[in-house]
């Protein structure tokens, strides 16, 4: 079998290409045109790709995963039932939850289970969003649209339940869009046996 040979001709330059000067002039012209337009031109015609962070901030996409928040019930209690699904799913193991039970004299006794402590180590978090996916109660969300505020203190990155409950979503709400009628809720229909046949 013979080896196939493909002959490639060397591209030829024209005279104007060979001296380079017209191309340099054209390039500098483009740069100067953009410079004067962006510096002195009218505001709406400016084409600047950079923003003056942090004074100016870009709009994030709707599904940007920011720092976490815990959603609330209408009475302000956490929707979280401390099922530990998020901490099970978490690949960085940054969620620590201590479940507890409301006492029988508590008005929220019917909810049964709630997080006595809920701590997220935001330094360990890799912002993968698995906790949000895992949550069966829509209790944890990453829709705050916020970064971690910088700090030189490690403990500032340990977000406790109270902090997480106080963070609003990007729409400014604290409640979930997915309410449920649990026992203890005013909307719960009540025990059938007690309502008669």
């Amino acid at each position: 079998m013979t080896i196939g040979v493909k002959v490639i001709t060397k591209p030829k330059r024209t005279m104007s290409e060979q001296v380079y000067v017209p191309a340099i002039a054209a390039g500098l012209g483009k740069t100067m045109k953009r410079f004067f337009k962006n510096t002195f031109g009218p505001e709406e015609e400016k084409e600047i790709a950079t923003v003056r962070y942090p004074e100016e901030k870009r709009e994030y996409p709707a599904r940007f995963r920011g720092i976490h928040r815990l959603t609330q019930r209408s009475d302000g209690s956490p929707r979280c039932v401390a099922c530990l699904c998020c901490s099970t799913a978490c690949p960085a193991q940054c969620i620590h939850i201590e479940p507890a039970e409301y006492e029988p004299d508590d008005p929220r006794y019917g909810y049964e289970r709630y997080p006595a402590r809920f701590v997220i180590d935001e330094l360990r978090c890799i912002f993968c969003g698995y906790c949000v996916e895992a949550c069966p109660c829509d209790a944890i969300r990453m829709d705050t649209g916020m970064h971690m505020p910088p700090s030189t203190e490690r403990s500032h990155f340990l977000y406790e339940k109270e902090t997480l409950l106080e963070l609003p979503g990007r729409d400014g709400t604290y409640l979930t869009a997915n309410p449920r009628h649990e026992p203890g809720d005013p909307t719960h229909p009540g025990i059938d046996r007690l309502k008669g046949h």
């Binding site: 039932v81 401390a82 099922c83 099970t88 507890a100 039970e101 289970r113 229909p189 059938d192 046996r193």
Partner: protein, 537 residues
């Protein structure tokens, strides 16, 4: 042995076996909720329906939806039988995986979940729930019901130990049968019918017998939950090793469930052993796991009174060796423990031999309430093992107090901290200048000790308990001991080393081998203690 065929597989059975029991013996699972090998047959969950293909075939008339015609048309399906109730005959042909059976299982699953609250996130059973397992295996489908489920009481306290959630209950009646058949105390029953069915307590009663946690143990769903374990852990984080209950001389076999991330034991579960505890354990036995974390001694201390000096274990061991050297061997008393493993007691016996001690005693917990079911009146797990390891009869702690008062004992080495006497009765022991206590927990004896050495508890070491019947049962280590704390046999071996008479024990297998040898020498017939296989540590 006669055989029958299950899904084409030939399976032996004993006369009187049901299909379910024969399959269970052969290690084949036929899906079921209400059947339990240790309880009577209720046949009410209908999950175990199978097709018996041999013998006369019965066909059931049904209406089947014909999609071409867009209407229901008459059809037939084979009559299925509950495997838990049908007795096996030789050469019977049973099919538990056919299309008809799977359809029936799918329907039963959908029916059981019709009014289920699906509150798996707050349910402690999640992760070991039959409803979850069988949903995945036999349903994996959404329910078609779209109306509000029937609501029933939740979080009902049945007693000190058990909480009941009627919405999760599938009415298998296992808990009722445990109370009726195992305990003989019919405290639970059912009320109402159909989807308003509920388990209730007998009027004026609480669930307060000695086996209440068994109702939770047999519950295939999350209807009954233990108030102790409630919300403490998620079961998928727990690991398990084989243990032996330290509650009494019955020696019930257990699963020790622990979380390796925190090094903490969360609960015990009975482990099936037909020769000892069958499928069960008593409440007090189930709660013995608290010994591992409560009132623990974790630092070695020297001195009595309000502020004993905390020292490193090595310093305490040096001090122990020094004091034992200073005392005349015959005047050193050794107290063995009926609460510690045979290995620990045997190491102590060898140390007693090494220092030439003659006075030997046995500390044990006083008798407690026994019954005819499982509980032995002897509150100690290893009395027989301690006696065997010490190589003969031991005096009791009452004799010890008299010997101390008579001045026959000048120094004392004690394993464990618990004995029949209370602090007031033990007061004469304060006379002793040297009272060395090797103990995992605080107790009346460790309060009086001049040197306290912490040792590993049963969950933190390998060991053997010999129960009241003389059966030697080994248990495994679940969690690591607190930092610097070793099993008692190892600490004793270290003391012996300091006394220049090493015992040669570095692994638990060494202790077991030596123990087996001494037991074989003591009795010509094979000793029960030697039957225990030694695990690699």
């Amino acid at each position: 042995m006669p055989t029958f065929s299950l899904n084409g597989q030939t399976i032996p059975f004993e006369k009187g076996d049901t299909i379910m029991r024969a399959a269970w013996r052969a290690g084949i699972e036929i899906p079921h909720y209400c059947w339990h090998p240790g309880l009577s047959i209720a046949a009410n969950c209908r999950m175990c329906l199978v097709h018996i293909k041999s013998g006369r075939q019965m066909q059931m008339p049904i209406m089947r939806f014909d999609e071409k015609k867009g209407a229901y048309v008459p059809d037939t399906k084979p009559k299925l039988m509950p495997a838990c109730q049908v007795e096996v005959h030789p050469d019977m042909e049973v099919d538990s995986v056919s299309e008809d059976v799977e359809k029936a299982q799918h329907s039963v699953q959908e029916f059981l979940l019709l009014n289920h609250p699906v509150d798996c996130p707050i349910c402690d059973q999640a992760g070991e729930c039959k409803l979850q397992d069988y949903w995945l295996d036999h349903q994996a489908d959404l329910k078609r019901k779209r109306t509000e489920p029937v609501h029933k009481p939740k979080g009902v306290r049945f007693g000190e130990t058990i909480v009941y959630d009627a919405e999760r209950c599938i009415m298998c009646t296992r808990c009722i049968r445990v109370c009726d058949e195992l305990v003989g105390d019919p405290v639970l029953d059912m009320r109402e019918r159909g989807n308003r069915n509920e388990i209730v307590l007998a009027p004026g009663r609480e669930l307060d017998h000695d086996y209440t946690l068994m109702t939770e143990h047999v519950c295939p769903v999350g209807a009954l939950t233990s108030r102790d374990f409630r919300f403490k852990a998620r079961v998928w984080f727990l690991k398990s090793v084989e243990g032996v209950c330290s509650g009494c001389a019955t020696g019930c076999n257990t699963h020790v469930d622990y979380d390796s991330r925190y090094g903490k034991v969360y609960r015990l579960r009975p482990r099936d052993n037909m020769d000892v505890n069958k499928f069960w354990m008593c409440d007090d036995g189930m709660m013995t796991y608290t010994e591992v974390s409560e009132a623990r001694v974790t630092t070695a201390t020297i001195g009595r009174g309000d502020e004993p000096e905390a020292v490193l274990p090595e310093e305490a061991i040096d001090d122990v060796a020094l004091r034992l050297e200073q005392t005349e061997g015959a005047k050193i008393g050794f107290v063995f423990s009926a609460l510690h493993s045979s290995e620990d007691n045997y190491a102590l016996a060898r140390l007693a031999e090494a220092v030439g001690a003659e006075k030997r005693y046995l500390a044990a917990r006083p008798d407690w309430k026994g019954d005819d079911i499982l509980r032995s009146t002897d509150h100690n797990p290893n009395r027989a093992g301690a006696l065997a390891a010490a190589g003969g009869s031991l005096e009791d702690t009452e004799d010890l107090i008299q010997d101390v008062m008579a001045g026959e004992v000048e120094a004392l080495v004690v394993l464990g901290a618990i004995c029949e006497e209370d602090a007031a009765q033990l007061e004469p022991l304060l006379k002793l200048e040297t009272l060395i206590c090797l103990t995992p927990n605080d107790g009346p004896l460790s309060d009086l000790a001049s040197i306290v050495l912490p040792v590993a508890s049963w969950a933190e070491s390998f060991g053997t308990f010999v129960n009241g019947k003389g059966m030697a049962q080994t248990f495994q280590r679940a969690i690591p001991a607190p930092a610097g704390v070793e099993p008692a046999w190892k600490t004793i071996a270290q003391i012996a080393e300091e006394l220049d008479s090493p015992l040669g024990f570095t692994r638990v297998a060494d202790v077991r081998a030596a123990l087996a040898q001494s037991a074989a020498a003591a009795t010509p017939s094979p000793a029960p203690a030697s039957a225990a296989p030694a695990p690699a540590e």
